[in-house]
Symmetry: C2
Subunit: 353 residues, 2 copies
């Protein structure tokens, strides 16, 4: 039976879920847009003055994306929540004009549920973004959005990440007065990303690495973070993600000819900010792979490249650019004889306090 | 001449500055307390409802410390600023009730100066915490605090880090109605930390590592981050820092018997939150070193340990606990034949955009 085959081929689940992403994004637009519109309308009326984002793992990278999007689109001060402030230190907070957004695929981690309840108790408006609309996190939040990614079976999250990003983009676009229509261009771009052979060359070059550094800036930084996490959890590589500026403030010293660097390029001003970082990495002899569209590749010289489509809005690009890194992580894992559907030491839903 | 000797022995500058820390903390208390008190009084009157912290490198870890301290002591929503929001995306922000705190040893990095100016333009109250009271960052900010660490010559920051932490602790303690006197206990604790032989055992065990993971939680998380940075920039080790909870959400898969883990323990509830993390690390066969006082060591079983003093308030402990990691990073670097005073590819003041 097909189901059995899917369960026994290493990485088959992860690959199937990577390929499912264009359909997931299209379906979410069809079924969830009105729900997201009503949440956006509520937020326009509530006029929060501050936004806090609570999440862990892959969802934490969706939270970093949300932070850039909210700051640049809505101009609100925005931060990533430290859950231990509530779970370890029982803080009394003044959150009267604060929007607390909790992002979680499973909606089940106790620290996220407890800190969301505490945030509400301290006056925050709470919103859950989950793949589990009946989860404790969704139930305990005042509002919730379902990302509608469908059941995710591979331990390494893929479709729930891009579905979270699109839901966040839609929310912020509608909140700021847009109509969400630009997301309709994503599905076609995604279809061209999910099956690609150029990843094989990078996977082959990275066959025996023990460490890798990923670099982004602004909207490409969450992609660098999520790409690093995929490699850590499927290929057991010591993958470290940095913002290009933070890398130069110390960590660049550890870069040498034996340490590959994967630079996630983005268009516009971000490419300008990454250019001096790439220069410094070349000075250190790094083997560089640039992920990005042809126009960015032309500005960031590299030994190898992973092309992504030209002309995608920089705020939507993270949804497209993560795909080659998902495919790469799966390929590296299976090349090394690991099963990225069942990484050692991990289970699908992680409970932390 | 002595000066020449200091300049030619690898790591001599860094060691001298590590040893200087007790005196730096005492001097700051003597000369800066009144200045910090007047800033605190201004903030009590201004009543900001949100705090953003802007910093890079070592100062970014001081910012993470400030975030926990402000959240748990003052209950204000608090976040780390993304400078590219201004430098790359030219965002228009609504910062009327926001306090923007910029932390920098040199006070000279263009991104920090530009984003602080933009934050003020968008309505924020701006405060600089620097080791250079005449720097462009201090001059452009509405208020400034000098950490009075004296000239820091080693590229790897040590005394400017602990001096920043103490200045932040004093500010928050005075802001919340305290008298800052608890900091007076730090100097004695620090004197017992700066010269210690137990670090030699850990440095010897880590002589040939290529990667290391550091773990903290809550107030011990900035110590894990700063310890990792010290090892990256002086010993060129791929050091990755995680909050204990974030580690379990994926990255723990890469931990194996070849990857040492350094756990920065803290007292109270934080030790409870780290105990299940240490259990999971043992399941993965990790070689664990715990940094912490005897009571915490008793709860977190490990192969080796770095003892820190018992009874230090958890909010002040990060100032004391970073010291053995500074000493360790310097020892590892010199054991490997590197000069931590002049790491490859780095200069003392880093300019990023």
């Amino acid at each position: 039976m097909n189901t059995t085959a899917v369960n026994t081929t290493p990485g088959a689940l992860m690959l199937a879920e990577i390929r499912e992403q264009p359909d997931v994004l299209a379906r979410q637009l069809d079924t969830e847009l009105e729900r997201i519109r009503s949440v956006a309308a509520h937020l326009r009326a509530a006029r929060p003055t501050t936004v806090l984002l609570a999440a862990r793992g892959t969802s934490d990278h969706a939270a970093i994306y949300a932070k850039y999007l909210i700051e640049t689109t809505l101009g609100l001060p925005c931060g990533l929540a430290s859950m231990s402030t509530f779970t370890a230190y029982r803080a009394q907070a003044r959150y009267e004009n604060t929007l607390w957004i909790a992002i979680s695929q499973s909606g089940g981690s106790p620290d996220l549920i407890q800190s969301t309840q505490r945030a509400a108790h301290c006056g925050a408006t709470t919103l859950a973004i989950t793949n589990s609309p009946d989860s404790p996190l969704a139930s305990t939040s005042q509002m919730s959005i379902s990302i509608e990614a469908g059941t995710e079976r591979a331990v390494a999250a893929t479709k729930s990440y891009t579905a979270s990003l699109q839901a966040i983009w839609l929310l912020v676009d509608l909140w700021s007065g847009g109509d969400g229509s630009a997301a309709r261009t994503l599905t076609d771009h995604m279809r061209r990303q999910v099956d690609r052979d150029d990843v094989l060359e990078v996977a082959s070059r990275y066959r025996f690495i023990d460490r890798v550094i990923t670099v982004g800036r602004g909207f490409s930084y969450p992609t660098a973070r999520e790409g690093a996490l995929k490699m850590m959890e499927t290929s057991y590589v010591g993958a470290q993600a940095f913002s290009g500026a933070d890398l130069l403030h110390g960590p660049v010293a550890m870069v040498d000819t034996a340490c590959p660097v994967l630079v996630v390029g983005a268009a516009g001003m971000t490419a300008d900010l990454l250019a001096p970082v790439v220069d410094r990495l070349h000075d250190r002899g790094a083997d560089i792979c640039v992920v990005g569209p042809p126009s960015v590749q032309a500005r960031l010289p590299a030994a190898i490249r992973l092309l992504t489509p030209e002309g995608v809005d920089e705020r939507l690009a993270p949804i497209v650019q993560i795909v080659p890194l998902q495919v790469l992580a799966r390929q590296m894992a299976t090349d090394r004889g690991h099963d990225p559907d069942q990484p050692r030491g991990l289970s699908k839903a992680t409970s932390t306090r």
